[in-house]
């Protein structure tokens, strides 16, 4: 079965599942929505305004002494706007729908991605590629067809925010970006709606309830200055444990239920902090509403009449989404290579017909390390001599990942065995038994500057992982050693274990230069020239440009950026390399 048939079958299977789900949803809706009768006083039975099916459905919480039927009735008449149907919004909307909130609005503009599903549990696989607001609404309706669920797919914008929040009783901020957080807060200040603000990233979560009259602060009371761009880490970059937003989003639903029913005490003027690593919660007592606040103070300058024209992008320096940062063009085109160029350099010279690969040809299968994670190192200054040791790679992949120069590149250039499984492993194995053909000259030094976790998940064979720490952190010492080898390099234990195996079959000029460092310090210019070609790759081709710029500023003129990084590699060369 070829690829197109596979795709057709997958498509038909997904469509079939969707139709089955819709049918089941309609059946259940007919079954559970039919009872809309309210008991007539003096006839069959009397109650607090709930229908018979509502009493049955919500019985477990309306028999709860601290909640009861009156609170349930308020919930059923209440409405909640949930801004964001992601990691926070998913559990929130499900619990609100399940708990019987009469009207749930779901705001989101994004389309669902596969990488969302580990935490955004209101969606299903079949919805990948579809609008999240609509997808979450389908799940809510499937859970409870007796409530009203509205998908607002246009998102929360300055032009519609006031109308949207005004149409609901309580608002949940489950968004993923700073502009939306300020906009939601400003709109809630103007509309006098309580705002339950949740946030989660990595292993951390935060929760507070804002804009509660008369003294509850708003988001600007707490953070009058927008966070720096670098502080706004995205889940896609910083990572997030799925449960972290799950817990905070669930607590947001709890807050909404309390606000709607009057049960309990909302988290006003308090900030709850969640630390998933220790499963610890802390509560910080916050300040009250600030008289000088431009959104909720007595002399607020953000008002109903000008909210729509407030420039939240300018205020925060960020867009209304957490999309990947745009591609930058930092260095001249002459210092950049395409992924096809990279592919051709990774092929054996004898089988290098052109720069364009055939569709089924994989010049270098990505590697899937099956080994334990190396110990993290806090030392950003890692001498080259330590690279071949276990600092960056566990033992199972030392050869391919950590021999920094020349020879492992020869392995990447080896003709690959047929079939794509095991190519990476073959590449690793062959590092210790280099074959002929391409060893006569050292290949380029291949640097992968992504964080070590991303490198460990998938990387191209032959690449050395040198995580880029940002423009303000020094480059790892071993790169500087290419220009200025020092005595200390040669005294470190790693070199001795690597050099013999390399120099036994083929001395590499750059390693010889390191050896030279034992007895003399060569001129930096010689060293820079000897550094040869250095190809730098990252996830999308932005960080790699910064690294190339830094290397070239040190005189390493062979440093070249791979345009578009591994994302472009996956799109143009090897679709099996995962985009994440």
């Amino acid at each position: 079965m070829d690829g197109s048939q596979d795709a057709l079958v997958a498509s038909l299977r997904a469509e079939n599942q969707e139709l089955i789900r819709r049918l089941a949803s309609q059946d259940s809706a007919q079954q559970y929505r039919s009872d809309s009768t309210v008991p007539q006083a003096g006839l069959a039975w009397e109650g607090c305004g709930l229908t018979g099916s509502q009493v049955a459905r919500y019985s477990r919480q309306l028999v709860l002494p601290s909640f009861g039927p009156q609170a349930q009735a308020r919930l059923c008449k209440g409405s909640v706007l949930v801004i964001g149907a992601g990691g926070l919004g998913s559990p929130a909307v499900l619990y609100l729908a399940a708990g019987g909130v009469g009207r749930v609005g779901i705001v989101d503009t994004d389309a669902l991605e596969l990488s969302n599903l580990h935490r955004q549990i209101a969606h299903q696989e079949v919805s990948v590629g579809k609008h999240k607001a609509a997808s979450a609404a389908v799940s809510c309706r499937a859970l409870n067809s007796s409530i009203q669920v509205i998908a607002h797919e246009q998102g929360l914008l300055p032009g519609n925010a006031l109308d949207l929040v005004s149409a609901y009783d309580v608002v949940l901020d489950c968004s993923d970006n700073a502009p939306t957080r300020y906009l939601a807060s400003d709109a809630c200040c103007i509309a006098a709606k309580p705002l339950v603000s949740g946030a989660a990233l990595g292993m951390d979560g935060q929760l507070t309830t804002l804009c509660v009259a008369p003294a509850g602060p708003c988001y600007r009371c707490l953070y009058p200055q927008a966070p720096a761009l670098a502080s706004c880490r995205r889940c896609a970059e910083a990572g997030v444990l799925g449960v972290a937003p799950g817990i905070i989003g669930t607590l947001q639903a709890l807050e909404a239920i309390k606000l709607l029913t009057g049960v309990g005490q909302p988290l006003t003027s308090r900030l709850l902090l969640l630390d998933c690593l220790s499963t610890g919660f802390r509560t910080i007592k916050l300040r009250h509403r600030q008289p000088a606040c431009i959104a909720c103070g007595p002399h607020a300058t953000i008002t109903a009449s000008n909210l729509a024209s407030y420039d939240y992008r300018a205020f925060t320096g960020q867009p209304f989404n957490d999309a990947a940062p745009p591609s930058i063009s930092l260095i001249p085109a002459a210092q950049r290579l395409s992924v096809q160029d990279l592919a051709s350099r990774m092929q054996p010279a004898s089988t290098r017909p052109s720069n364009q690969l055939q569709p089924n040809q994989q010049p270098a299968a990505f590697s899937r390390p099956h080994v334990a994670e190396p110990e993290a190192s806090n030392d950003s200054m890692i001498p080259i001599s330590r690279l071949p040791s276990a600092d960056f790679c566990a033992s199972g992949c030392v050869a391919a990942e950590t021999v920094p120069i020349g020879h492992q590149q020869a392995n990447s250039c080896n003709p690959l065995p047929e079939g794509d499984e095991g190519q990476g492993a073959k590449g690793f194995d062959s590092a210790s038994q280099p074959s002929g053909g391409v060893q006569s000259s050292a290949g380029p030094l291949l640097l992968d500057v992504r964080p070590k976790e991303q490198f460990a998940a998938a990387h191209l064979p032959g690449f050395v992982n040198v995580p880029y720490q940002g423009p303000h952190k020094p480059l790892p010492a071993f790169l500087l050693e290419l220009c200025h080898p020092s005595q200390s390099v040669n005294q470190a234990p790693g070199v001795s274990s690597v050099l013999p195996s390399l120099s036994a079959s083929e001395p590499d000029a750059r390693i010889q230069n390191l050896e030279l460092g034992l007895s003399q310090t060569p001129k930096p210019s010689d060293q820079c020239e000897a550094a040869g070609e250095i190809l730098v790759v990252c996830r999308r081709g932005n960080d790699s440009q910064e690294v190339v710029q830094q290397l070239r500023s040190l005189g390493i003129t062979g440093a070249m950026d791979i345009i578009g990084g591994l994302t472009a590699w996956s799109q143009s060369v090897d679709p099996s390399f995962p985009i994440y």
Binding site: G89, R181, L201, L222, A228, S231, L286, D322
Partner: protein
């Protein structure tokens, strides 16, 4: 005297530590302690003025507040992920 420092979220990333203790002058104000914190961890400049500060789990309103031995100072930048 010693005060306890708690760095959360981005502040923890920038400082490279979540909890620590620092020696500060007796009767130091919160402003003095925070200046010392920025000198020790210059990377925290990124969140300076853009986060909630708390002493003993209460919002720090007054930077002239005099801290005492064993006080717990928390640096809480906003988290925007969701």
């Amino acid at each position: 005297m010693r005060v306890r420092l708690l760095f959360f979220a981005r502040a923890r990333e920038l400082a490279g530590v979540g909890e620590t203790e620092v020696e500060v002058a007796s009767h130091a104000t919160a402003a003095v302690v925070l200046k010392q914190v920025l000198e020790t961890w210059p990377a925290l400049e990124e969140v300076s003025g853009r986060c909630v500060l708390a002493v003993n789990q209460e919002y720090l309103e007054d930077m002239a507040r005099i801290l005492k031995e064993g006080d717990e100072v928390a640096v809480l930048p906003p988290v925007s992920g969701g």
